[in-house]
Symmetry: C2
Amino acid sequence: MTEFMDVHHNMAGITAESLREAHEADIAIQGEENVFFKQAWADPENGIVYCLSDAPSSDSVQRVHERTGHPADEIHAVPLSV
Amino acid sequence: MTEFMDVHHNMAGITAESLREAHEADIAIQGEENVFFKQAWADPENGIVYCLSDAPSSDSVQRVHERTGHPADEIHAVPLSV
């Protein structure tokens, strides 16, 4: 498993509720891809969402996000953290 | 206090040790700006570092990063999180 940070653009105006709903939709199916979404943060003014996950691959992260209707614009393995 | 995600580009080849040293340099002076750096993640292949903090403003985050020699390329308030 590797830690990933994925980034969504064009999310201006996202609300606390829509962030929670999107996160819960991902969590509902993540087990099918062995992905574990841990946290997500949103900048509603600039329309950016960051999602932190543990996953076997960036493709597995993207498959979950695609199935729930919000594919990521960037997915970065972040093997280093403090 | 607001939560911020700041992003550093052009960090290709960053190591676990250099990430830790940079984070510790920030932590050593963060109190002077009332900033609290909580976590940081690095993608050494693409040269991206994400830093999560609580801070009074994006300017205060940047002042700490500038003084420690690694100004952020983007600083986003992320008032929404799950």
